[in-house]
Symmetry: D3
Subunit: 313 residues, 6 copies
């Protein structure tokens, strides 16, 4: 496949791209045309369909994947694809991971790993609660596995929420071995559930943007509420345990000014905050280094609030 970042003036293309936006417009002469943005995982390019009514142009809309035949031209210093033929593809014709950012890890494998960790939780109620979400609730599982963990910052790709959750849970597992006073069942359960509110805070790709309830309530409060509701439905779930679990979720940003309505009061809540913060920073730096073009100083980085450097040893 010819990736968008490799297109050059004068190229002919005949490949499948995702339609990110499509707009019907009119030229000065009153002729209708389509203004389209094509996208793959390497970027986007402006495109035009000057003859929408012509035979080779299917009905299509964002976010369809379309098989495009056309020419690459240059307009005002930017590339533009002149679309001659456009055919709407059906699922199976293309590999979605070519068009949208996707976790580099295999989704099935990550999910399997998560289930193994869930299996290691011994407390009857916490185990039941985890299973309700991650084993029994097919809709939730589907959503959770597809979700990204962010709109712009770290783990902002399909499967990102699963990858981040797994990473945090494993870090917490390491903590439990190093700091024996930690209650493992509580910490592991909190780690696995800490960002489940993100399944509702962000819409799925290709949109991956904040939902209304995401903006009004936020994933922290929604996650706590989801856990609270589930626990209430499990007979005999200890009230205090429910509160402790919700507390870990509410406090996982660590500071009020980062959006947690409570600071961590439990050793497990402190640990979860540390694990979440650690994975966020390590992944952010990893993504940053993945985008480095020249070694050395990379300029001021807003997230790390300083000039960052690619180490070579």
């Amino acid at each position: 496949m010819k990736f968008i970042k490799d297109l050059k003036n004068g190229d002919r293309i005949s490949d499948i791209y995702m339609c990110k936006h499509k707009l019907s417009a009119t030229t000065k002469n009153g002729k209708e045309y389509y203004s389209v943005t094509l996208q793959d995982k390497t970027g986007t390019v402006d495109a035009k369909v000057w003859e929408p009514g012509s035979g080779g142009i299917d009905e299509f809309d964002a976010p369809d994947c379309i098989d495009v035949f056309g020419e690459v031209t240059s307009f005002n210093g930017a590339l533009q694809v002149n679309i001659k033929r456009a055919r709407k593809c059906h699922e199976g014709e293309y590999d979605l991971s070519n068009y949208l950012p996707v976790s580099s890890r295999d989704n099935d494998e990550m999910y399997k790993e998560l289930l193994q960790i869930i299996d290691s939780v011994e407390n009857e109620y916490l185990s039941k609660l985890l299973r309700e979400f991650f084993v029994n609730d097919k809709d939730f599982i589907d959503l959770f596995r597809k979700s990204s963990a962010a709109k712009t910052v770290h783990h902002g790709f399909i499967g990102g929420l699963l990858e981040h959750t797994l990473s945090v849970a494993k870090l917490c597992d390491y903590y439990c071995r190093s700091y024996p006073l930690l209650k493992r069942d509580l910490l592991i359960t909190a780690a696995i559930c800490h960002d489940i509110g993100k399944t509702r805070e962000l819409s799925l790709f290709p949109i991956n943007d904040y939902t209304d309830e995401g903006q009004f309530l936020g994933h922290i409060v929604m996650g706590s509420e989801m856990v609270g509701e589930k626990a209430r439905k499990i007979e005999g779930f200890p009230e205090l345990l429910k509160q402790e679990l919700q507390h870990c979720i509410l406090a996982h940003h660590g500071e009020l000014e980062y959006g947690s309505p409570k600071k961590p009061s439990l050793m497990e809540a402190v640990a979860l905050n540390l694990a979440d913060n650690t994975d966020a920073k390590m992944e952010t730096f990893t993504e940053l280094l993945g985008n480095v073009t020249a070694p050395g100083w990379q300029g001021y980085n807003k997230f790390f609030e300083t000039n960052v450097y690619e180490t070579r040893l």
Copy 2:
């Protein structure tokens, strides 16, 4: 009644006081005695029952009200009541407002006023939600009317939550008349519900202290969850409206660092934050002036972060 703040060395007392704490202890000689703290609305005093087994001493415990006969002595520079006779009283014998801080406004009247405001809400779903809490749920109403609005700061007395809620709702009503873009039904409903989580964050008097869930979750999150649950049970309650209402509650502290997980995004949420803040500050200054002994400068005040002054005009 002889109030505790007026007791003097040598006084004899024969009056009803509340038992705040009671402890069984042993003298150096191995004799059992009771160490008791007596309380009324003016303060507390240490007391001892040196002859627990004697005829005139009933069985009693905190927070019973007991009819005490005894003498006031001085021990190590502090007053101490030597209890000779102690009879446990039954409800009706005493006026609770002599023993615990109570709102200066009549509770029935305030509740009636609140119901009138609820009646003015026109939106079918918001009206239904308010009625579910404040008209139909007897346990909740009872709790709400008795609750204080704080452990130490403003409105920290029986009926304080009701008084504060009413005051905020009326202020919001005034706003609606002055700023016509405000959606009255949403704002009034949010005002009335904004602190309902406090019914579970603080235990009732005479304890009036943070509960476990109060510390783990906080009244902001609990209030939002209570409203969310109630709305879900009302058929047809619009999802967006539910989110807006929850948002107003979550954002009513105005800033993340004050414990709100979201900053106000709606004009109504901004208004609720202003009304809550206004009533909190005005009541705090009112309580402060009520405790002034000499006019003029009152010294540095932590809440107002400056030296405060009693104005005389």
Copy 3:
């Protein structure tokens, strides 16, 4: 009248507009021409007078209102008016409110309402002080009624200072009814005077920009000084009362970092700060919603420090 925001390429115009800027310039060929900015309440447009010496072009300058005859053309993607004839208008020919932002409320009516509130002040000295400013000092009254309350943020229009002052005074009046310990005369007087320094901090429209003394001293200090001077001229004005009034003005921004040299020490100063803040936020949100083009999320708002939303109920 044809408003600037509705102009299109090819339009002919024959209407009165305000001249906001006028510059004499020379073409490459050495010919003189005028570069002019025309303004009405809907926006501004670039304009040129290519033949300044021709018969139909009057002498005019900013901020005259001129009757323009010309053609709308497009230059470099922006509209430009080619002015063929320009006649300077005299007062009475046009309605100023078409050219400058003006309060939506009637100025006479607001002033009358303000006088009624002033009439309600009972303290002899405070009453006298208010009358000196708002009844007897014609220059001040004229200035006060025309002033805006801000360069860019809320109430930044003609009559804005009067509208804001009235709104704050009425809110304070409401507070006095709700919180009886407030000294009404002091609070109402402070509310009415709190922003009088703005009459000198900002120049009048169409300029509406900071003056030298506005930048060097600020309206808070100037307002306090104006009140101090006036009070000193009123025989018998109690010194302490003068200080309390000045204190309310100095402290009305509430925090040192917002430019108040003192934090509020009086209950009235706290109340004034709350009323000022409430009206500022409610008006800002009102103006914001007035500019909304599509409902829903409006993007990040610097003043409210969050994404704001237009509620529909």
Copy 4:
């Protein structure tokens, strides 16, 4: 003279001390006595007059200096003077500097030095303004020369305001020689006037406490107002110059959060802030080292926000 810090149980004293407080009280037996606090520059001591009516006890009150004859006893672990005879002294009998903290520099000499600096100001209006305060206004001069510059921190002694003012003015003079763009007349005038509001913010010794207007308005605003009033009385005083001078005074704390309602906008205002800050910190460290008993680390110091150390070289 026997200083208070050297008194020991069993001493007899016969010396002049200042009466700091005096209270009439009654013993358990109903006998009247005086409870007195005696003070000299080394500290204070509790004292009692058990026989107020006896022959040797004059009428006296705070802050009189009295010639005391009595015995030093120990009561509850603290010293107490049993006053047998007390004679009220008249000015001239004692040296005030033994009883109150006084600048170590000669007041006349400092004043003379200040006048010399004033003589060096060339601008006609600034020169006139300085003379109005420091040459012609006898009451002001008297007050200014006696005032301290603080209640607790640096220069908190009689003559402290003069000493600090002189030091700041000389530092500014040095700046003018080093940084030639500084306008010397403006900077020197601002330096000399920057703290004149302190003559009214603090009452004189022995009280040396905040006045009402000091708390309500603060020395920054009062100083600016004093300069403004004086300038308005000088015919022809340029308005802009007056504003610049007031600005320097208003901005001399450098930051809004330190109580300046404006940040420095003029190079002279920046310079004055630096000079004021420099003298404050150097004098504070000087006073701190003057109180050092053992060399080395002196413990955490609130003003410098760190552990401070006495250097020996």
Copy 5:
């Protein structure tokens, strides 16, 4: 051994305690006596030697361990040991860990574990640098193994620096496995060296207090300087590698306001800061829970800035 926390009025003791302070004083009658503080790992107790010259009293001083024979009495509500006989002990007679706080882990074992990690560093220069410190420099090794990691907060015991260093290094090792872009050799070396400056910032137990250079320079700067010096002595040590290692040490507190003169610019520096912070918080909570007497809420904790809770599951 009878621990100090278990002493009761009337006890006789005959055990070895550490002398923490010793002062020679004189009674009112002019007789010399010693005022002594005895210490073991459970606390301290006041003690007196009333007959210093008597036969059974050896010469001893802080911090000797002395074999004490005496009686426990009560004075002013506090226990006091009346020392009848005191014999200075020699090393070997007592187990130091009874008298001073010591790591619960075996020192030899921790050191061995550290050496194994050092062995895993492959880079020739970093390996050499680590060996210079931790294998070849006997004085340094001795100091490092005895040092505590803090005066008051986490790891404030003998062996604490070693225990903390090991824990941080192992956490970093885990990070290297999870985040493959981390350069393991750099990170592990930085982890092992990050707090070596503490060997000079704090004096050894029983004093365990800040040294002069500790206060003047701090362990961050000293650690960086120690590493810099050592690297300069290793022939061929790459200059950039030296700077990166020093940077990791300088930046390990993560924020300027926590005393790091640079924010982390390298992924390894970010990782080290996270590991250090994680171990600090987990150990602090572990020590806190170790001191819990009653389960549940433990009150406001300054380090965690909230009320903390002991979880029971």
Copy 6:
């Protein structure tokens, strides 16, 4: 010489300019050309060599000074020099101060003045240390005298470090006369050494950018290390004195958040911070006023965090 800021369309130039950047490129027709930026102290201008192979074009590169013969044309609204002939100059043909920002003070004279101050230091060890750097170390002296004190802010020109150092040292000398408790030798030595780390933090002009070690370690830590190393080589240099000197350097930014790892604990460290800050602010304002084109308000200034004004008296 014709300065770049005075070039006009149509000018012919025949003068020496510095080549700041040079890039070899290819026209659409495949012809090679050079794109060059020429620089002098008044600015930069774009230039092209269309015929690189032609006779009159020498080999040259940044940062050579080249004698240019060419024509000034206008391209896309900006000037462009069409270079016809370019000859690489050798040192001596040009005056570097025409091409790079240079201190307005004579470098030799400043250095002489610095040596005089060094001569005034009496303490044997401090004197020796200063001489090692500023008299004996020719490489260091050369570097120090050429260095700028900043990349962008104050003293960002050749000789700037020397000028700033001298100014700070003289200010400290003035302090010593005004505040006699200051230890002059320590303060003067610290003042002279406080920024020596900048010789390694910034590369020399024309680059004047942060070096690797500048970014990793910073001039504060490097300066302290340089002083530490030098002191260790001077036999008998008192350890405590070395620490105090290093402390002054480490603490000279005054606050942790400004990059000092320690707050000032010595009076001399406080003084150095004040002198450094004073010179920085005065020079910044001086440079700012030097760039003023029109008097009056200069707009918001990021460094002074307010709108700044050019005073005219």
